[in-house]
């Protein structure tokens, strides 16, 4: 029997206790995820519109299950808007789509998919997924929590690269080794800032070598998580019999990252890049310390937060750290990749570099990276991966529900030249993706995908769709982070925190642009499970809490959205309740109300109207009511519906 001794920090042990059981998994190299990807035969299934559907239908047929019908057009439209851009369609776009759908539904759908993939908001949406893995934040994270004034340049690079559909292998190469490329462009130097996003302790008197080591451990672990789906950090302290990565191999990977220093390089930003220096008020009304203000002024030259490889005479030797203690040196090691995977080829007598590591990840013989990457795209479009533990493809992770489909997708991703957009397009055009999410058989799990999953939208999207439905949304892409209003008692928990409230358009920027100050995470985002940016996050939790209800009901930003929608509905439709309520529903849920819903909302509206009459007024016949407020309250009900924050 195996006993897992659970532990903490970066320490984990699995020891064999009692009788040992002989099984294939005892040899990590035999684990499914490390086997070569062989193009699977596509099942011949009647009615399958695509290979994806064929693989899914084959499993469903085996289990004597039937797939769900295609979702209603308005549901599909809302689904692709949310999945591809994280925003809602406007009423105009809904009308146009419905007209096109009437003519030719297939053409209308695929044209809309192409349109959304080409939208600049696509990059914002998919950058957010990647930024979770990049543990992106705008501050250092430890005491002092100094601002990283130019971190957003990296964030914008991600958005731009995704919008430009930079092939994933190049996207990876530039982030892992952009600084090492021959004559790197400024963009490539910015991209190498991927591994500058980790936490950094600058507290006076700290053990800075320990912190440096922890940063390199984090870079190694993040690389393992993002590209290999392996929890390599488990191996920092010990060997684990059943894992693909031994302690020595962990430090061989670590060695790739152990000879860099942090570099903040001045860069010139193209005038059309949207990368303009942030403007700070000379006399800020919010509480900014003088020190902070001075730092900001000094920082007006854009800096790429990047890495620089150390020169020959400064190079560090890498040792295994006995029990993870960096002061206890074990064997000396050189950069190398785990033996359970394909071999790394480098020029003879040359020490492999981060460039070699990046090329190794995209080597045709690599069995795991394509699976990990394809699975992660799938996870973003179905709410859960084919391997549900998208950060753990190791022996302790979940097995794939559709191994052949996963392999087909992995192969397809490569055949598509690592085009993220093409991969997404392939999936969202499938019938499997387009199924209704209605859970008509609640007792039946959905591993086999007899329906689409219904997924609560992510934290940033909760904000974005409020702004989007109300029309308040600023569609500006990129630039310095913004500071939405925050009560002082929240901001002041950190040390010398300045939260200079943003003005004008910046109040209505997308959630992705909210400053991620690690000691003062924006509470609305945290309430909806945005990660705390300490380590790479491959899949977010999806909790459901009363704090979320309070936020949706009472957060001033969300109420402002309800006010706009309610006021506009009232101004447009006056006392024509049916039309006004239909309008509210179309703007937020992107569909008309059912009769029952219409009745329920009309009843609520009637009661709201009564409530707006003060007791004094009510005594006299025809007392003053506030129909606009009643409509705002009705809009607020609609924005609080589960369906509003759900991608069905």
């Amino acid at each position: 029997m195996l006993k897992s001794i659970p532990i903490f920090g970066l320490f984990a042990v699995v020891i064999a206790a009692g009788i040992s059981v002989s099984r294939a998994a005892d040899d990590p190299a035999a684990h499914w995820a490390y086997q070569p990807i062989v193009a699977p035969a596509i099942p011949q299934i009647e009615g399958a519109k695509s290979p994806i559907d064929a693989f899914v239908l084959a499993r469903l047929q085996e289990a004597k299950l039937t797939p769900s019908p295609e979702a209603a057009p308005h549901t599909l439209l809302r689904r692709i808007y949310l999945d591809l851009t994280g925003l809602l369609p406007t009423p105009k776009e809904i009308v146009a789509f419905e007209a096109a759908w009437q003519k030719d539904s297939e053409a209308a759908y695929s044209a809309k998919v192409d349109e959304l993939l080409a939208s600049p908001h696509f990059g914002e949406r998919w950058a957010r997924h990647w930024l979770d893995l990049a543990r992106y934040a705008d501050s250092d994270g430890y005491l002092g929590d100094d601002m990283r004034l130019w971190a957003w340049i990296y964030r914008d690079w991600v958005i731009d690269a995704i919008n430009a559909d930079q092939p994933f292998d190049q996207f990876s190469l530039e982030q892992l080794a952009g600084d090492l490329l021959p004559k790197p462009t400024q963009q490539q130097i910015v991209a190498a800032g991927f591994h500058r996003n980790n936490l950094k302790n600058t507290e006076v008197g700290s053990d800075f070598e320990l912190d440096r080591v922890k940063q390199v451990v984090d870079r190694t672990a993040t690389t393992g998580n993002a590209w290999l789906g392996l929890t390599v950090a488990c191996a920092e302290c010990h060997d684990h019999k059943h894992d693909a990565v031994s302690q020595k191999e962990f430090f061989q990977l670590y060695a790739f990252f152990n000879n860099t220093k942090d570099a903040d390089l001045g860069i010139e930003l193209a005038s059309d890049s949207g990368w303009t220096a942030p403007v700070y008020h000379d006399k800020p009304d919010a509480k900014i310390s003088d020190k902070e203000l001075g730092k900001r002024k000094k920082a007006s030259t854009p800096k790429a937060q990047s890495l620089v490889e150390l020169g020959e005479k400064d190079r560090r030797e890498t040792f295994v750290h006995i029990r993870g203690d960096y002061t206890q040196h074990g064997d000396a090691v050189s950069p190398a990749t785990p033996a359970a995977l394909h071999s790394l080829t480098t020029a003879k007598d040359k020490t492999p570099t981060r460039i070699d590591l990046a090329h190794w990840l995209f080597d045709d013989k690599n069995p795991i990276t394509p699976r990990v990457l394809a699975n992660r795209v799938w996870q973003r479009l179905f709410g859960i991966g084919i391997v549900s533990t998208s950060d753990d493809f190791g022996t302790h992770g979940a097995p794939p529900t559709h191994p052949q489909l996963l392999d087909w997708l992995a192969g397809e991703y490569r055949r598509l030249g690592w085009s993220r957009k093409q991969m997404i397009r392939t999936i969202v055009l499938s019938s499997t993706y387009r199924q209704s999410s209605a859970n008509t058989q609640p007792e039946l799990p959905n591993d086999l995908l007899w329906r689409q999953n219904s997924v609560r939208v992510s934290a940033e999207t909760v904000r974005d769709i409020h702004l989007s439905a109300s029309g308040l949304l600023s569609r500006k892409i990129g630039g310095p982070g913004v500071y939405p209003p925050l009560p002082e008692f929240v901001a002041e928990v950190g040390r010398s925190v300045s939260w200079p409230e943003s003005k004008g358009e910046d109040r209505y920027r997308r959630g992705t642009y909210i400053v991620l100050k690690r000691t003062v995470l924006y509470p609305m985002l945290t309430a909806f499970d945005a990660p705390d940016t300490s380590v790479a996050c491959s899949r977010r939790d999806s909790t459901n809490t009363p704090m979320q209800a309070l936020t949706l009901l009472n957060d001033p930003v969300f109420f402002e959205c309800a006010e706009v929608i309610g006021r506009e509905a009232y101004e447009t439709h006056g006392n024509k309740l049916d039309a006004a309520i239909t309008d509210l529903m179309r703007r937020s849920l992107n569909r008309p109300p059912t009769d029952a819903e219409l009745n329920a909302l009309k009843n609520a509206h009637r009661d709201f109207l009564k409530s707006t009459t003060s007791a004094d007024d009510a005594e006299s016949e025809g007392g003053a009511t506030d129909p606009q407020l009643a409509m705002i309250a009705t809009a607020r009900v609609v924005l609080n519906l589960d369906e509003f924050i759900t991608r069905d």
Binding site: S4, P6, I7, F8, G9, A12, Y142, L143, N201, E203, G205, D207, T231, C234, D392, G394, H396, G397, S437, A438, P442, E443, P445, P487, E492, V493, G494, R495, R518, T519, P523, D529, D532, S534, V535, D541, S542, T543, N544, M547, A549, L550, P556, T594, A596, E597, A600, L601, A604, D607, S611, I632, A633, R636, V637, N640, L641, D642, E643, T646
Partner: protein, 482 residues
């Protein structure tokens, strides 16, 4: 899978909504539902675990004294240190020692100007800075032999709060709510209040759920005005309209649930009900009009000082009692800062003036209400302070002490702790631990034990590994147990 009992609840809820679809009163909504709420643990991935054995403690109030209180000026008298005042420390003791600021070579031992006496039947030493606490000597288990391996604030605080010096791990309060859920029907299971000078080094990481789902995070309460973020209705929305809104939201969500079968909707409905209850429960919590003048006086709520810290901390202590009374599982009160690198004498006196009376009143109050037996109270910081005076460059005079992880004092009371005893012993000058060393992990193991958990068994799987509060360490300190 949907729990069949859910349908029963839903059916009754539907009947209710049908009969009261208009003109819903607030009371009706609040009373409607069966008390199904474990407020801290309603998520889909939040199964409340049962304790491993009968717990002694049901609730905890953790008084976190941020910055590192000076133990030899409060709880650990060192006559020998006073005798050696001004002398160099033996070199053997300094070998391999790291300081944040102190220059080792020229540092000199610094005695304490405080006067100590023995209190209670147990004869516990306490200094003249804590006159009120002396009344509780027989309730308190004083630990003089705590130690850790972090000599800087944030790593030290994270270690004390989460068991790991690095960011990203769940705090003790999150672990306990993960393990036990909240016993409150209308308040969060984990509440944090602060009295801050400079702010907290870790900010919100100080009550983070780390890799546990975010519903186990502490809820930051403020002690003035509306206690919780977004608790107040938006302008123009009356309580009546709020009640009607929630009824409408739930009615429509119910329709959607019937049509789509999505289990999350049922959970959403319940959370709107809980949110609504919290809207009345939280203001009720902060409304102290029902407290007797004697109680307010005892806590020192009406004390006036320039910074307002005295009344703020007193209020937090009283609110902590009110919270645990209402079923909140874990309350952390932060008092910042005890980081006296200079002006130790006056600043320490300021801190104890803020805290001594309310903390003693809290113990008395809990005891009188019969709550202390099942409420664990912990008082302590992240480390202690050096027996050496701090002589960092730039300091004209030596008036403070540096960080000291090698030995420090903290105390616990109630919740199954054996009071009236001093545990552990430091050496003559208060540098190292001579008897019963108690690491932070041991403290955590003991606290979990008091709550009925084997610290090796309370685990959470994250990124392929089972994590626990105590890493691979921790031994229950038997002496602390009643």
């Amino acid at each position: 899978m949907i729990d069949p009992s859910q349908f029963a609840t839903n059916a009754s809820r539907r009947r209710f909504l049908q009969t009261t679809a208009s003109g819903l009163g607030t009371v009706a909504l609040a009373q409607l539902l069966q008390d199904d709420g474990l407020l801290a643990a309603p998520g889909s991935n939040s199964l409340t675990r049962a304790p491993h054995f009968a717990p002694k403690a049901k609730r905890c109030i953790y008084l976190f004294m941020e910055g590192g209180p000076s133990q030899m000026d409060l709880f650990d008298p060192k006559p020998k240190l006073n005798e050696l005042d001004g002398q160099a420390m033996p070199e053997s003791l300094l070998e391999g020692v790291k300081f944040s600021f102190t220059k080792k070579e020229t540092a000199r031992l610094m005695g304490s100007p405080r006067t100590f006496k023995k209190y209670g039947q147990c004869g516990m030493d306490m200094s003249d800075l804590v006159p009120h606490l002396t009344e509780h000597a027989d309730d308190i288990a004083m630990v003089r032999s705590a130690y850790c391996d972090q000599f800087n604030h944030l790593p030290g605080q994270l270690l004390m709060l989460t068991g790991s010096p690095f960011r990203g791990a769940p705090t003790l309060g999150s672990w306990l709510n993960y393990g036990l859920g909240s016993a409150s029907h209308d308040l969060p299971g984990y509440v944090v209040m602060t009295t801050l000078g400079r702010g907290l080094p870790g900010g919100s990481a100080s009550w983070s759920s780390g890799f546990l789902p975010s519903n186990y995070s502490g809820a930051l309460f403020r002690n003035q005005g509306s206690p919780v973020l977004n608790l107040e209705n938006p302008p123009g929305i009356t309580p009546e309209m709020q009640a009607r809104s929630i009824a409408a939201v739930n009615e429509l969500n119910q329709q959607r649930f019937s049509d789509s079968g999505q289990a999350e909707i049922a959970s959403r409905i319940r959370n709107y009900e809980l949110a609504f209850r919290m809207q009345s429960a939280a203001p009720e919590l902060s409304d102290l009009s029902g407290e007797s003048p004697a109680t307010l006086e005892a806590y020192g709520l009406n004390r006036v000082d320039k910074t307002g810290f005295e009344s703020s901390f007193a209020r937090n202590c009283l609110l902590a009692r009110r919270l645990v009374e209402r079923g909140t599982r874990f309350v952390t009160l932060f008092l910042s800062t005890w980081d006296q690198h200079s002006n130790l004498d006056s600043e320490l006196a300021t801190n104890t003036k803020i805290s001594d009376q309310p903390v003693a009143a809290l113990l008395t109050d809990l005891k009188e209400r019969g709550l202390l037996d099942e409420t664990l109270v912990v008082w302590g910081g992240e480390f202690g302070r050096t027996p050496l005076g701090e002589n960092r460059s730039g300091f004209k005079t030596v008036t403070g002490r540096d960080h000291h992880p090698y030995s420090f004092s903290l105390w616990m009371a109630g919740g199954g702790v054996k009071g009236g005893q001093v545990i552990g012993k430091t050496d003559e000058i208060g540098w190292g631990v001579e008897e019963d060393p108690i690491h932070v992990h041991d403290l955590h193991a003991t606290i979990l034990h008091l709550f009925g958990f084997d610290h090796e068994e309370l685990t959470y799987r994250f990124q392929g590994r089972d994590f626990r509060l105590t890493d691979v360490h921790g031994n229950v300190v038997k002496k602390l147990l009643a």
